[in-house]
């Protein structure tokens, strides 16, 4: 999914570059710029999604949710079960093609949302149910 997403973004970028080049009526020597951009995009698409896949982890225990995301800047987040406020389930256009979904767990802090991307749809739905039940079982208003 990330691979395709990357390629799509890269294609858009290249298309914009081409359009700009045409629109500004540059001499044809500027095409090497577009070529360089294409190479960069391909390299990015080849390396980053795989790197991302290697880094990304998630885990749900009885007391907390853990995630690890990122590639260059790596982020690990912990949210205690007792502080969970909402559990979001989302399927983007792209992820639906692959039968995947994203689960977002938010706490009362604007800085603390946990995103678990690219989960299998059935697993994601089960995770949502599971989290909702567990979060519901804890007393208090989660702040």
């Amino acid at each position: 999914m990330w691979l395709v997403g990357c390629l799509a973004e890269g294609l858009v970028l290249i298309a914009i570059l081409v359009a700009v080049t045409l629109a500004w009526d540059w001499p044809s020597t500027r095409w090497w710029l577009v070529g360089a951009a294409a190479v960069l995009v391909l390299a990015y698409a080849a390396i980053v999604p795989r790197w991302r896949y290697l880094v990304h982890r998630w885990e749900v225990s009885d007391t907390a949710v853990y995630t690890q995301t990122g590639w260059w800047a790596r982020e690990r987040r912990i949210a205690p079960m007792s502080r969970i406020q909402t559990v979001d389930y989302a399927e983007g256009a792209l992820s639906r093609l692959f039968g995947l979904a994203t689960v977002t767990v938010t706490t009362a802090s604007a800085a603390g949302a946990l995103r678990i991307e690219g989960l299998d749809r059935a697993l994601a739905q089960q995770l949502v149910d599971d989290l909702t039940l567990k979060a519901d079982a804890v007393e208090g208003d989660a702040t």
Binding site: A73, R74, E75, I78, P80, T143
Partner: protein
């Protein structure tokens, strides 16, 4: 909510309008809001000549809007909820459960005070910043506003209702922690607010002049007053400094006059303001910690300021200010009283070691050095005077000094149940967050940081700036800190390391 003595709440069960005196306030305020447009209309009208009556009709529009605003706004407090209904074309109904009320602000601007009114702003934990989503009861009689506040806060279950009621009724439970001293205004020019006010005035003035078409008439040739240019520049700069100082002192006095921080059992009370008075109550339970701001300029003067990290109040909310810029020992004293322990603001901090120090230097110096190198290249290439390099060179030296200060500032601690973190130089901040208000941890590390064995630990919370950041702490120490703070949470993390 079964409380029979809560007569304020019982009385407000039916939908009702705000105080009729708001009929005077709204139109005036709408006219103020439309003032630039009105002036524009007026100028355009005079310029095109004739059509005098139309210009005065323009004033009627905002007045009508103001009257409508009054008649379309109603509120009620019923069935355990506060509900506010407003809007003429877009009807807007806001509703919130009483037990989610976290703060209640009572504000009265000058015009409100003349009429004996006040605005009650009910703060819930919402992260929404849209002004339409705020629960403002704009325009209640002042004493009724205070009564409403007392009732709302007692109903919130977080406060010990009986104890709080007792404190409010006989007033004996109140102890004053901080009282304003006009001498503190000397710190005002050292804060950035003066510059902001000056910039705002300057911008507004320029725009107004522009609107009136004044700029084309300005002719630089008229400016020769028989003095050298550099004297003129010096005078202008001196005037600007004095002007900013005067403005910032005035601003400081206007907002902080009669600043008073007091505590009654169950909550903290703040009141301040010369023209616009503002009273805020913060529930004890919602007070998650404090943030001690020590910008470089204030530190030189031996001053600091203090704000509270309050659940449900964003950092932008000026109602969380616990102490205006004031002498440092006064401010730390207040922090000690507020937190019931002095150690979060007084205790020594654990440094983050040589790797973090190197990172501070490299991050500060690298951009300045890049600028310097580019500048040298440009000067050599273009054959300009070497004196032009003085600015980038000074920048590089300043960067080193700032980095050294950042290294000194960096530190963290875990004392008395508070996570304490300090970082920054020009805008140094020391934040103390109570452990049981930490609602999650984030460990963030870039590739560079991982190579240096460092990580940035972020404790997220529901108030203030939403998080407290422990910058560039050694990785093992970060995990240990998180584990010590909340033992039951981080077990899995250690296993994974």
């Amino acid at each position: 909510m079964s409380d029979a003595t809560a007569h304020e709440l019982v009385r407000d069960v039916e939908w009702q309008r705000l105080d009729p005196r708001m009929l005077l306030v709204h139109p005036v305020r709408e006219v103020g809001r439309f003032l630039p447009v009105l002036i524009g209309l007026f100028v355009a009208g005079s310029a095109s000549g004739g059509g005098g009556a139309w210009q005065y009709l323009g004033v009627l529009v905002p007045i009508t809007l103001g009257v409508f605003r009054y008649y379309t706004t109603r509120f009620r407090i019923a069935q355990g909820r506060v509900e506010l209904r407003r809007g003429l074309l877009n009807r807007h109904v806001l509703s919130t459960p009483l037990d989610r009320v976290r703060t209640v602000d009572v504000t009265s601007s000058l015009i409100h005070r003349l009429l004996g009114l006040a605005t009650v702003r009910i703060g819930t934990g919402t992260a929404s910043t849209d002004s339409d989503e705020r629960l403002d009861l704009d325009g209640l009689p002042a004493d009724r506003a205070r009564g409403l506040r007392a009732e709302l806060l007692h109903v919130a279950p977080a406060a010990d209702a009986a104890e709080a009621a007792e404190g409010a009724v006989d007033g004996t439970g109140e102890r004053v922690v901080l009282r304003f001293d006009p001498g503190w205004a000397r710190f005002a020019p050292l804060t950035s607010s003066g510059a902001v006010i000056a910039a705002g005035l300057f911008g507004g003035g320029a725009q107004l002049l522009n609107e009136l078409g004044a700029f084309p008439h300005l002719d630089t040739r008229d400016w020769s007053l028989g003095i050298p240019v550099w004297v003129g520049v010096l005078i202008a700069a001196g005037g600007l400094v004095v002007g900013v100082a005067v403005l910032s002192v005035t601003g400081y006095l206007l907002t902080n006059w009669d600043f008073r921080l007091s505590h009654t059992p169950g909550s903290w009370h703040l009141s301040r303001g010369l023209l616009t008075t503002r009273e805020t109550s913060i529930d004890d339970e919602r007070l998650a910690g404090v943030s001690l701001g020590e910008p470089l300029s204030l530190r030189w003067a031996g001053a600091a300021r203090l704000s509270a990290i309050v659940t449900g109040l964003g950092s932008g909310a000026s109602s969380s200010v616990l102490a205006p810029p004031a002498p440092r020992d006064v401010v730390t004293g207040v922090a000690g009283r507020v937190l019931d322990t002095a150690s979060p603001t007084e205790a020594g901090l654990v440094g983050h070691g040589p790797a973090a120090a190197r990172r501070r230097y490299s991050r500060a110096v690298a951009p300045a050095l890049t600028v310097l190198v580019v500048a040298v290249a440009v000067v050599v290439a273009a054959g300009w005077s070497w004196w032009l390099l003085a600015v980038p060179a000074a920048l590089a030296i300043a960067a080193v000094a700032v980095a050294a200060d950042r290294v000194r500032s960096l530190g963290h601690a875990l004392t008395d149940g508070y996570v304490v973190a300090r970082s920054g130089s020009l805008n140094r901040r020391r934040e103390a967050l109570e452990v049981n208000h930490v609602i999650g941890w984030t460990f963030r590390s870039t590739w560079f940081q991982r190579r240096a064995g460092l990580t940035t630990l972020v404790a997220t919370t529901a108030g203030g700036r939403q998080s407290v950041t422990v910058l560039d702490v050694p990785e093992a120490r970060a995990v240990e800190l998180a584990r010590l703070a909340l033992p039951e949470l981080t077990g899995n993390f250690e296993r994974r390391d």
